[in-house]
């Protein structure tokens, strides 16, 4: 049985279509990522799956239970970490964990195996109010609280947003370890680099899923050649390239611009040199998830 099944979900907020025909499934023990910018509809989808919001149309099942009919049973079985920190800021680390354990009718001790790795990292601060923790610590505590009742499915809504790079990496390491315990995890993130850490990802934009696959397949299927270009005047370079008739897309990517074009790169080089650019470097680049995302996003925007 697939732990998470989403079938043709639609959700409208006034005139805004927050979710448009969303379908996917998450396999047992899979780490599934929803990748997309703010406003893509990721949190809305989480709230529907966590039984907090009703979809307008479509069906969703968690552990074979319907999110509308069997919401009560689902609430016992899932661990949910909302996008906004939602623990009691005036209670200490220990008290928060204790509270969430008790309302699930269990104890910290009973499921300590599951949270040990994570809890040990925040244990030195266990008497500190949750509101006084750093961003990374807060997320670790929230993950502990979501795990303390031994959920059979985990929903993590942007767990690494607003967290420093080191803590982000630690957080993903923890997710990998949880995966080994065979808990299916649905996680969302606006960071493209985190997409490669998932088993499969769904690229989301404007309430619709643009592509679902493993990160490596997504990248390898991307046939368009990417060129990395830089010069001494990056700002003018972006403008000139975007104005160039044969350039299809041009986005900043670290110190380079990632460019797709129909013309020969040497042709572009000569036109840029005559345009007065110095220190020009043009080299082929490997496409990343971000390049795929940008190109899909551009295609979607043009279609609309």
């Amino acid at each position: 049985m697939e732990p998470i099944v989403v079938q043709n979900i639609f959700k409208q907020f006034g005139n805004v279509s927050a979710l448009h025909d969303i379908s996917f499934t998450v396999a047992p023990g899979e780490l599934f990522g929803l990748i997309g910018p703010d406003g893509a509809g990721k949190s809305t989808l989480f709230r529907i799956l966590a039984t907090l919001l009703l979809a307008d149309k479509g069906k969703a099942m968690v552990n074979g239970l319907d999110v509308v009919k069997d919401y009560r049973a689902i609430r016992r079985q899932v661990g949910y970490m909302p996008g906004k920190f939602s623990l009691y800021q005036d209670l200490t680390v220990e008290e928060n964990l204790h509270f969430f354990a008790t309302i699930f009718n269990t104890t910290i001790k009973e499921n300590y195996d599951l949270i040990r790795d994570i809890y040990e990292q925040i244990a030195p601060f266990k008497t500190r109010p949750a509101g006084k923790l750093s961003g990374g610590m807060k997320q670790k505590l929230a993950l502990c609280c979501a795990l303390v009742h031994k959920p059979s499915v985990l929903f993590l809504d942007e767990p690494t947003t607003g967290v420093d790079p080191v803590s982000r990496k630690e957080f993903w390491d923890m997710l990998q370890r949880l995966k080994e315990k065979n808990i299916p995890i649905l996680v969302s993130t606006p960071y493209m680099d985190e997409a490669t850490l998932c088993d499969r990802v769904a690229l989301m934009q404007n309430g619709a899923i643009m592509q679902i696959d493993t990160p490596s397949t997504i990248v390898s299927q991307f046939r368009t050649k990417i060129w990395a270009i830089k010069s001494n005047d990056m700002y003018r370079l972006i403008r000139d390239l975007r104005a160039h008739p044969e350039v299809q897309s041009c986005f900043a990517f670290g110190e380079f611009l990632h460019v797709t074009m129909t013309a020969d790169p040497e042709e572009v080089r000569s036109s840029l040199t005559t345009g007065g650019h110095t220190g020009l470097v043009i080299q082929p680049a490997n496409a990343g998830i971000e390049d795929v995302f940008m190109s899909l996003m551009q295609a979607q925007t043009q279609a609309v």
């Binding site: 949910y80 939602s86 509270f99 309302i103």
Partner: protein
């Protein structure tokens, strides 16, 4: 049941960790009782009076002496018409007594003399009392003159009757006995109405409700768990306030405390229901506070605490029939001053139970709809 217990445990932990909560529980009642009980004073003393004496005779001296020795009036200054009126305008005098020229002469010859009393009526109730006191003193003076004039002693005087009266239930007319129970009602109302609603809205405002909702906690658990602490705290406050009232003001307890607490217990259900109802259509503690304030200020001002309900216009009296605060003010005074028991408060208790049932039903219904 276990779930409710865990929520209660968490709530008390949070309430007592809140730095403003302990002062609210222990300092506010003492300050309210000590400050308000003395400040909401309806006895008017030390009214300042200007006397314009155009006569200056023996009788006018006696009249002045009688007024000033009554304890109600202190002489601001004895002056001229013009200056006295200026004092009235400048608010330095509350009233002016003008004794006309030939006062004594008129009294002797014509058997009739006139004095004029001008009262500053910016503060209506103060003016009413000032005029009342002055009139009764002048009336008394008048009677004495007539007796002296006719050279009669009390027994031979023309037949008249003396009214003797006694203030039942509060013989010394100690307004504190009357005010302090009312102030306690306000205190209980604030805790029940304000804090409970804000406590629920806080979960929405902080986003914690998002996490709580994805747990086995049922709405019923949540509501009871969030409201019950304030029911307990408010009853504790009442006991604390009554103790302070007994120690500081020597409040009379004519009736049984049991009735007061029974009534308070039901009354608090009404207030908690109000708080819950308000929490269902507000998103932040600030919104909840403003809306609660709007309702409570009306309820408290129209409760008969500061001004008697009987002197309100008819339509306002009808509104007070829907004001739970008015019932509690009435009952706590009845029980404490008059010693009323079950037979007297029964009807009010029934009304209160009806209020609690209706308000909580609407609140829970609305809560289901919105949450």
């Amino acid at each position: 049941m276990r779930t409710i217990f865990f929520i209660l445990q968490k709530e008390f932990l949070q309430i007592f960790r809140n730095k403003s909560m302990l002062p609210i529980i222990f300092v506010v009642p003492v300050v309210q009782l000590l400050v308000l009980a003395f400040a909401t004073n309806y006895e008017i003393r030390n009214l300042s009076i200007d006397i314009v004496d155009h006569d200056g005779g023996n009788w006018s001296q006696q009249l002045k002496g009688k007024l000033l020795s009554s304890g109600y009036f202190t002489l601001n200054r004895q002056t001229t018409d013009k200056a006295a009126f200026d004092d009235l305008e400048a608010n330095t005098a509350d009233l002016i007594l003008t004794i006309p020229r030939h006062f004594e002469q008129d009294l002797v010859r014509g058997n009739e003399a006139k004095v004029q009393l001008l009262v500053n009526a910016i503060n209506g109730s103060k003016a009413g009392l000032a005029a009342g006191y002055a009139q009764s003193i002048l009336g008394d003076f008048n009677r004495r003159i007539r007796m002296e004039w006719l050279a009669l002693d009390e027994d031979d005087a023309p037949s008249h009757f003396d009214t003797s009266f006694r203030y039942w239930f509060n013989p010394g007319l100690n307004y504190k006995f009357f005010m302090v129970p009312g102030i306690l009602v306000v205190l209980v109302t604030l805790i029940g109405g304000f804090l409970s609603g804000m406590n629920i809205v806080k979960e929405k405002e902080m986003g914690t409700i998002e996490q709580l909702n994805v747990t086995p906690i049922r709405k019923f658990h949540f509501i009871v768990g969030k409201l019950l602490p304030f029911w307990i705290i408010a009853l504790f406050e009442l006991a604390f306030g009554l103790t302070v009232g007994k120690l500081v003001f020597n409040l009379p307890f004519a009736g049984s405390l049991g009735w007061i607490f029974l009534f308070a217990a039901v009354y608090l259900l009404v207030m908690l229901g109000l708080g819950l109802l308000i929490s269902t259509f507000t998103e932040t503690q600030q919104q909840a506070m403003f809306i609660t304030w709007f309702f409570l200020i009306i309820c408290i001002l129209m409760s008969g605490l500061f001004t008697p309900i009987e002197s309100m216009p008819g339509w306002a009296q009808k509104i007070t029939q829907f004001n739970p605060v008015a019932y509690f003010v009435k009952v706590i005074r009845m029980v404490m001053l008059k010693g009323s028991g079950w037979a007297d408060i029964r009807q009010y208790l029934v009304i209160m139970i009806a209020f609690a049932a209706v308000l909580n039903a609407v609140a829970v219904w609305n809560y289901r709809k919105t949450a």
